[in-house]
């Protein structure tokens, strides 16, 4: 096992577990708002942006785009916006939920610094509607920040002013997609917009250039300002810099959120280490795992030795995506697991694009039929064909025939399950039901 360095700082989870970790008193007692003061009173906006560029912080929302590079692409315009994405609904991803409830001030501080760096006219934090406690905590943090002088007119006497507004979602996975989120924030149905032309950095909220960044991305900003982009970039390997929270779930002894240095350990280290996953439940073996949210293709046990790095996982044919890892042991029915994921996509497809809307429905029905014992052998080819209609060629990353990438994400689990566990599908079909029940 690779040794886990003791010296890696906790960048985004340092306050998690502290008493009243969400209060401004705790936040100030642990170095809170020092970075904001430093940025506003001693740095130019372009200097802040340049530190973030140097850090090579990759967006933590799923796509893994460089945060600094995104900022540099913001179209110049007298009105521009910053929207922070706290919609976290990718199945089995629960890291943002923890940050939102546990350290809302860190998100608020990162947001204000970012608004300064990109010159946002107003900033919004979009929080998933189901996070009732999270909404309370973030609003309380915003109230406290105004009282402390970190928001509103002339922040810390720097001449920089900003208003920050909390906005609740209302239950729709698709609203995590940035253009759908913008539609929702405009008070509409969450229909994604087509890119181009609707890249938020060019045409975003109310038609104005807009930066959309994830909650965990924002949480890294205060540390980067305090310690410098180079210090951040010295952690990790290659393009995967800094630390990252992995939300480990499924059949492990210790499911939970673990912040680790990027690329320095493998999936196996994370799963087996006593301080992290603590090994597989009941000492069972790994049958398969999902490395980056249900939109990601699965790996078998041989994937366990891949390092937790964005590029290594991509090279192996999947993605680190949302930072969720789901472990499945040898007692798991793969048909049922893949079927449930398809059911999710079918339910959450916004319905604008035919391949996604119809395809997800057909695939879900076929998968359900196989799981329940009514499947035919020809269904397997039919399933692959339906998947191919959504993402032609079934390559990775998938080809896109739809407005957003929800559609092309549907085949990931189905194709992986059929490729890796064809026998198991055949047993369901031959025996007329699920052998695991």
């Amino acid at each position: 096992m690779t040794t886990v360095s003791e010296h890696v700082p906790k960048i985004v989870t340092s306050r998690i577990g502290l008493d009243q970790s969400y209060s401004i008193d705790t936040y100030l007692a642990t170095g809170g708002y020092v970075a904001l003061r430093k940025a506003l009173t001693t740095m130019t906006p372009e200097a802040v942006a340049s530190e973030v560029m140097t850090s090579n912080l990759l967006g933590r929302g799923g796509a893994g785009f460089e945060v600094g590079r995104k900022w540099s692409m913001l179209k110049n315009s007298p009105v521009r916006y910053l929207v922070v994405n706290g919609d976290e609904s990718e199945p089995a991803t629960f890291k943002d939920h923890m940050l939102i409830e546990g350290d809302p001030h860190q998100i608020v501080e990162g947001t204000i610094i970012t608004a300064y760096a990109v010159g946002a006219s107003r900033a919004f934090i979009f929080i998933r509607g189901e996070f009732a406690l999270g909404l309370e905590r973030v609003q309380a943090a915003i109230n406290e920040a105004y009282r402390y002088g970190a928001l509103g007119q002339n922040i810390f006497g720097s001449g920089f002013s900003l208003d920050l507004v909390l906005h609740p979602g209302a239950g729709a996975y698709i609203c995590g997609e940035e253009t759908s989120l913008i539609e929702s924030l405009e008070g509409k149905r969450g229909y994604p917009r087509i890119k181009p032309p609707f890249f938020p950095a060019v045409i975003g909220l109310y038609g104005a250039p807009t930066i959309v960044n994830n909650v965990e991305s924002m949480s890294n900003i205060p540390w980067i300002v305090n310690n410098g982009g180079a210090a951040f970039a010295s952690l990790g390997v290659g393009r995967s810099t800094g630390t990252r929270i992995f939300a480990l779930a499924g059949h492990v002894n210790r499911p939970g959120n673990y912040e680790v240095e990027m690329a320095k350990m493998t999936f196996r280290d994370l799963v087996d280490s006593p301080q992290y996953g603590g090994g597989m439940r009941l000492g069972r073996s790994v049958k398969a795992f999902i490395p980056g949210g249900v939109s990601a293709p699965w790996f078998g046990p041989e994937g366990l030795d891949i390092p937790l790095s964005q590029d290594d996982v991509a090279k192996a044919g999947s993605m680190l995506g949302s930072g969720s890892i789901v472990m499945m042991d040898d007692h798991t029915c793969m048909v049922r697991a893949a079927w449930r994921i398809t059911k999710f996509f079918n339910r959450e497809s916004c319905g604008q694009c035919t391949p996604c809307r119809e395809g997800s429905g057909w695939i879900e029905k076929m998968m359900r039929r196989i799981e329940n014992g009514g499947g035919r052998e020809a269904d397997l080819d039919l399933l692959l064909d339906a998947c191919d209609n959504i993402a032609p060629g079934l390559s990775w990353p998938p080809a896109q025939t739809t407005i957003c990438v929800l559609g092309p994400s549907i085949p990931s689990s189905v194709v992986a399950a059929i490729k890796m566990f064809r026998d198991e599908f055949l047993i369901h079909i031959k025996e007329g039901g699920c052998p695991y029940e």
Binding site: N76, R122, F131, H167, G169, L185, T332
Partner: protein, 211 residues
């Protein structure tokens, strides 16, 4: 049936003022309406339409996109059992079956006394405590059949009144201040700062060239 009360209307108006365009307040206002009426009644939708400057049909059309917005009455407690992947692996499917038995309704159904509405929900980001259940968007887990029953029984006798507030995800979300910097003022400030950035850039370029 009626729309917003005086107090709620004031809260609604203060939310509308937070946005550069009124329509942005549509969803927050739907949450307020559910807090007051338990669901999105027609009167509420009419009031919301009025407040954000759209037609009631547009409010309905928007609201119907979202799982949390209910245009029909629901129980006092919305009980959502998650059966998505992490919960499925830990028995979420079986827990949902048990919940149906315990409450005597299928997902989408409301108990006769109007206390519980059962829902099968997608991941609620509580997966390290799988199988997870949400009650009015407060999270519980990991639950067994027995602890699920206890939870329901406790809710029935009002044991969770403080921890599980009634409808409205914004029920305890109160913004203390309005918008402090009007848009025109911000735009003027940003123009100034953009000009400063541009002149710093020009100076840098000039310095480079003279070398």
């Amino acid at each position: 049936m009626s729309g917003f009360s005086q107090i709620m209307r004031r809260r609604a108006e203060s939310l509308v003022e937070l946005y550069p365009e009124r329509r942005s307040a549509l969803i927050p206002l739907c949450h307020l309406a559910q807090e007051e009426a338990g669901y999105l009644s027609e009167d509420m939708m009419r009031d919301i339409a009025d407040l954000v400057g759209v037609t009631p049909a547009e409010v309905y059309g928007t609201a119907s996109f979202y799982d949390m917005l209910h245009t029909e009455p629901v129980g006092k407690y919305l009980v959502g059992v998650c059966t998505n992947i992490a919960c499925l692996l830990q028995g979420g499917g079986e827990l949902l079956e048990h919940a149906e038995e315990k409450l005597g309704v299928s997902p989408g159904g409301t108990t006769h006394d109007g206390v519980f509405t059962l829902e099968e929900v997608e991941c609620v980001a509580h997966c390290d405590k799988a199988p997870a259940v949400q009650v009015n968007y407060r999270f519980f887990g990991p639950l067994t059949d027995e602890t699920f029953d206890e939870l329901i029984d406790d809710l029935s006798v009002g044991k969770y009144e403080g921890d599980v507030p009634s409808h409205g995800t914004l029920i305890r979300v109160h913004r203390e201040v309005g918008i402090e910097v009007p848009m025109e003022e911000i735009v003027a400030q940003r123009r100034e700062s953009d000009a400063a950035i541009a002149s710093r850039k020009a100076a840098l370029e000039a310095a480079k060239e003279s070398k």
